[in-house]
């Protein structure tokens, strides 16, 4: 029986999810024994036609990481979907839109103007911009379309499973492979991680009081944080209560609060709204003025509560931005 073919691909990605596959260290050998990695752009050369040449469903599984921002990424996602038996959204960007999706707070024009004109390091007096089609010397090179909206993978193609994390931890990847190879998989659309919040495996849980009442909120740079006490008890926002566990509370161990990269549990439709609800309900003040003063400690609610999940939030995007149809 020939070894099942596996593909890794990356779209709007920072490369972290590629890194984490390598972090499997020697376990990667165990993986390589059982599967045949046929596509891994960061590690191996590849051509479109090689992928296109594959028969539909020839790939046993594709782990696709990174959000979808350009037309080429959409094409590859669609192609790999057709070629793979299991298409897996690997990492927060593919699952929820990730950090790139924070750009959904800005229009395409704002993004392009900043990057190609207003950024301090840019000198572009005649406002040149990358063109999708360009005629020159008989040749018409073209670039992928830069979409107005950043999307998660399942907003473009049908996805079988999700592996959360920014990046997913090695043991999560290993468990995913074992599940795929052994065939005992949860129902389609499941997230391959425990369905309980992070606090369950966080060492600081014991120090969180049962009567937390926030009198103020501070941000990481504003104080030296006790390395044993629950961050929320110290008045620092930690997304742990609203985020899946599975990472072994890596950030809290590194004395940094959880920022919510594993996404919500299956019972929650909007991770940001849920954390907002839980956090604000426990604010100490009862009068409007007092409440406002305490909440001033959260200057950027969207960035705090939707750091990874804006694309998959119920509103998906800042609603009054110009839409794709009228082009600008």
């Amino acid at each position: 029986m020939p070894k099942p073919k596996v593909a890794f691909y990356w779209c709007a990605s920072c490369g972290g999810c590629e890194e984490t596959v390598v972090d499997l260290a020697e376990d990667i050998l165990g993986v390589v024994e059982k599967v045949d990695i046929v596509l891994w752009p960061v590690a191996m050369d590849f051509k479109y036609k090689d992928v296109a040449a594959l028969a539909d469903g020839a790939l046993f599984a594709t782990l696709l990481n990174g959000a979808i921002r350009t037309s080429e990424q959409e094409e590859l996602a669609a192609l790999l979907r057709r070629k793979s038996r299991y298409l897996i959204a690997y990492g927060a960007c593919a699952q929820l839109g990730g950090i790139p999706a924070l750009a959904n707070q800005f229009s395409r024009e704002q993004v392009l103007r900043f990057n190609y004109e207003d950024a301090p390091s840019v000198v572009n007096p005649d406002h040149t911009r990358p063109q999708v089609h360009f005629e020159e010397a008989g040749r018409t090179p073209h670039l992928p379309e830069f979409r107005h909206v950043v999307r998660a993978l399942d907003q473009v193609v049908d996805v079988d499973f999700y592996i959360p994390g920014c990046p997913p931890t090695p043991n999560l990847t290993r468990a995913a492979f074992e599940a795929l190879l052994s065939g005992n998989l949860p129902p389609k659309g499941s997230v391959l991680a425990p369905d309980v919040a992070l606090c369950e495996e966080c060492a600081r849980k014991a120090s969180k009081p049962t009567n937390v009442a926030f009198t103020e909120f501070k941000r990481p740079h504003q104080a030296l944080w006790d390395s044993g006490q629950c961050f929320l008890a110290q008045g620092l926002v930690c997304m742990g209560p609203a985020t899946r566990r599975g990472c072994g509370a890596a950030c809290p161990q590194g004395n940094m609060p959880c920022t919510g990269c594993f996404g919500p549990t299956s019972r929650v439709r909007d991770q940001g709204a849920k954390m907002l609800s839980s956090l604000s309900a426990n604010v100490a003040a009862r009068d409007e003025e007092g409440i406002r003063r305490i909440l001033d400690g959260l200057p950027d609610p969207v960035g705090t509560f939707y750091r990874y999940g804006l694309a998959k939030s119920l509103l998906r995007r800042k609603v009054n931005l110009p839409t794709g149809s009228n082009g600008h």
Binding site: A197, G240, P241, K274, A281
Partner: protein, 682 residues
């Protein structure tokens, strides 16, 4: 597992409610529309769903069409949800596989456009159809009722309620803030319309309360905290220090006789300050319990300054002749402190009464400026044989040449003082016309003076009231119809010299009149007590715009409140006379007895529970519960809810960051589906 779409067999009924709904909502169209929705196997419109045939129709359909869900679109669930649930149960289906749609109070009665109202009805119905598919079978929870009852307030309402319950064999705690029970009624001389003496009909009931084995009487005490829920209230009562041991004092009043103060010197609250009392005193002769108390504000054995926490400081400077007089009974104890007592009861009856309108708030009538302007309550004390003047109605100010106090030869009684007035209280206080006429009769009897009653409308709504009014007319009382403008001592003519002139527009005669009188009586109205807001929050009650405690339904549930197990009686719910107060007291007692005898109360099974294997133990929900129903299990490192304490508000469910708490009947899925439904605009 949630019932998937195909297993759900929904029966939908839209009610015409006669014309109430059908007048604006096209019921057949709604029925047709809902008939097309997935899961709906039966969709009817019917004239009166809440009628017996309507309910039988449901039961029949359940059996015939094997329905496992029922939705009725008619009036407010607060009105008939219970009726239809019972019908569904009678049809053999779990009553919670039912959901109700309000298309009357929230649709046909409040809108005018037929098309839009019908469209709204369709959407609301669709919301219910989508919601009911997610409903789960639930069981009504039965909560045992503690048989003891707390009655708050010892006026005639509290007394009657306590006696009714005690005579039914229930154990009653009667808590009264004043040193004695009796309330306002104990201060009245006679009562209208029969003119029987207030003390004669009240004192026997008071002593019956004082000696009843089933009644624990705590006077000079206040409720400070109420916890728990219907059937299981824990109440903390603060017993203020009397500096007298109640069980040792026999009421002989030797201590009063031997007090260092030979003569009573201090204003006596019971007589509205007209009489005087000593630092050690008994409020009034028939006080129950027959026990004295010491006022630390004026007793020489106490310092004038207070401890930081407000409690009096014993100076021990007095010869304490009172202690000597008490002798071996040793009832006096200056070291007594306020004490907190805790009791467990199943039901509570609140009858905290009213306060009279402060006449100073209408300076035009001169109360507090002219000495011979009295309030009605002051007159009740003056004409009372046990009052400060032994029933003699005399004028303040200059005496007769022979030194005897002057008697009034003409008296003006002004109705509606503070009532029916935009600047003060808008409502009619219901009793002032009757007690003004009673006082007119008594004053005539005591002084033979000419009596003038100034009224806007004479209101005699009770039994024998109109006859009493005719009796007053026959006695020659002058009734002048007009809102009195002013009481002044400015005399325009010689016969007005030295008198109080009442200026009024006599609307029947059509002329402004000046009527000089010796004495003016202000029939002040009734208003909620100054601390009504704190008291009602103790018992989780709300109040109407006017400040009176709010009953569950003005017509159909006048003694119930929105909190199960807490009942109202008497004037705390609105101005009323003694017959209505006693009737309400009886009704409240009956409501309490009904709960106690049934032994349990049904609680809506909408409590919340935490999904055990999904809770991360993040403790975010624990501080949210005002009933401390959410606890943290240290061993399993997870939170759990004590469903006996949970009241089903759902606040923790809305906040749980990992969605691990579920509220029966209001699950997230059910509400999301309802949102989807109401936003269906075809």
């Amino acid at each position: 597992m949630k019932a998937t779409r195909d297993e759900v067999r929904i029966g939908f009924y839209v009610c015409h409610c006669g014309h109430n709904i059908a007048a604006l909502v096209d019921c057949p169209a709604v029925a047709r529309y809902v008939g097309t929705l997935p899961g709906v196997v039966l969709s009817r419109d019917y004239k009166y769903m809440c009628s017996d045939p309507g309910q039988e129709l449901i039961q029949q359909d359940i059996r015939e069409h094997r329905l496992n869900r029922v939705v009725v679109a008619s009036c407010s669930p607060l009105l008939h949800e219970h009726t239809f649930r019972s019908a569904v149960e009678a049809g053999g289906l779990n009553p919670f596989y039912f959901h109700m749609v309000n298309i009357r109070e929230h649709d046909s009665w409040v809108h005018t456009d037929r098309i839009l109202a019908t469209e709204k009805a369709k959407a609301l119905a669709r919301a219910a159809i989508e919601r009911v598919a997610h409903h789960k079978p639930l069981e009504i929870k039965k909560v045992p009722i503690h048989p003891d009852v707390l009655v708050v307030g010892g006026g005639i309402a509290g007394i009657h309620a306590a006696l009714t319950l005690a005579n039914a064999g229930k154990k009653v705690y009667l808590v009264e803030r004043e040193p004695s029970i009796g309330g306002h009624m104990a201060r009245f001389d006679k009562t209208f319309p029969t003119l029987d003496c207030a003390a004669c009909i009240l004192t026997p009931k008071m002593s019956e309360v004082g000696s009843h084995p089933n009644i624990t009487l705590w006077t000079y005490s206040e409720v400070v905290k109420v916890d728990g829920y219907v059937g299981n209230y824990t109440v903390q009562v603060k017993r203020k220090a009397r500096y007298i041991h109640e069980d040792l004092c026999t009421g002989c009043q030797d201590c009063i006789a031997n007090c260092v103060y030979k003569e009573p010197k201090f204003a006596d609250e019971f007589n509205e300050g007209l009489g005087k009392r000593k630092p050690v005193f008994i409020p009034f002769p028939q006080a129950t319990p027959q026990v004295v108390l010491i006022d630390p504000e004026v007793c020489l054995n106490f310092k004038r300054n207070k401890n930081p926490d407000g409690t009096p400081v014993v100076s021990d400077k007095c010869k304490k002749t009172c202690v000597e007089a008490c002798g071996e009974r040793g009832a006096i104890d200056f070291t007594q402190k306020d004490e907190l007592r805790e009791i467990r009861v199943g039901t509570i009856i609140v009858c905290t009464g009213f306060q009279t309108f402060d006449a100073r708030r209408v300076p035009a009538y001169g109360y507090g400026i002219y000495p011979n302007v009295y309030t009605a309550l002051e007159i009740e004390r003056l004409v009372n044989a046990s009052g400060p003047t032994g029933g003699e109605v005399v004028l303040r100010g200059p005496k007769n040449p022979d030194g005897t106090p002057r008697k009034p030869r003409s008296i003006g009684i002004i109705h509606c003082v503070g009532s029916r007035d935009k600047k003060t209280n808008l409502w009619c206080s219901r009793v002032c016309c009757m007690y003004s006429m009673k006082l007119a009769h008594l004053l005539k009897e005591h002084t033979g003076a000419e009596i003038y009653n100034f009224y806007i409308d004479i209101r005699t709504p009770g039994k024998g009231y109109e006859e009493f009014y005719n009796k007053l007319l026959e006695e020659g009382t002058h009734f002048i119809r007009g809102r009195v403008g002013e009481v002044t001592d400015w005399a325009m003519t010689p016969e007005e010299e030295g008198k109080l002139v009442i200026r009024v527009e006599d609307t029947l005669a059509g002329v402004v009149r000046r009527i000089p009188v010796d004495m003016v009586v202000l029939a002040t109205g009734l208003e909620p007590r100054a601390d009504a807001a704190e008291v009602r929050r103790l018992f989780n009650m709300s109040c109407g715009g006017d400040g009176w405690f709010l009953e569950r339904h003005p017509k159909l549930a006048p003694v119930n409140t929105f909190t199960d197990g807490v009942f109202l009686a008497g004037c705390c719910q609105g101005p009323k006379d003694i017959p209505d107060t006693v009737a309400q007291a009886g009704a409240a007692a009956a409501e309490a007895l009904a709960l106690i005898d049934r032994g349990y109360v049904e609680q809506e099974p909408n409590t919340a529970h935490i999904l055990d294997n999904e809770c991360s133990g993040c403790k975010s929900c624990i501080p949210l519960c005002p009933y401390t129903a959410i606890l943290f299990d240290e061993t399993r490192q997870k939170a759990y809810i004590n469903e006996a304490l949970c009241k089903g508000c759902g606040t923790c469910v809305g906040s749980c960051p990992s969605g691990s708490i579920v509220q029966n009947l209001f699950e997230d899925e059910e509400i999301f589906s309802e949102i989807r439904g109401v936003l269906a605009y075809d």
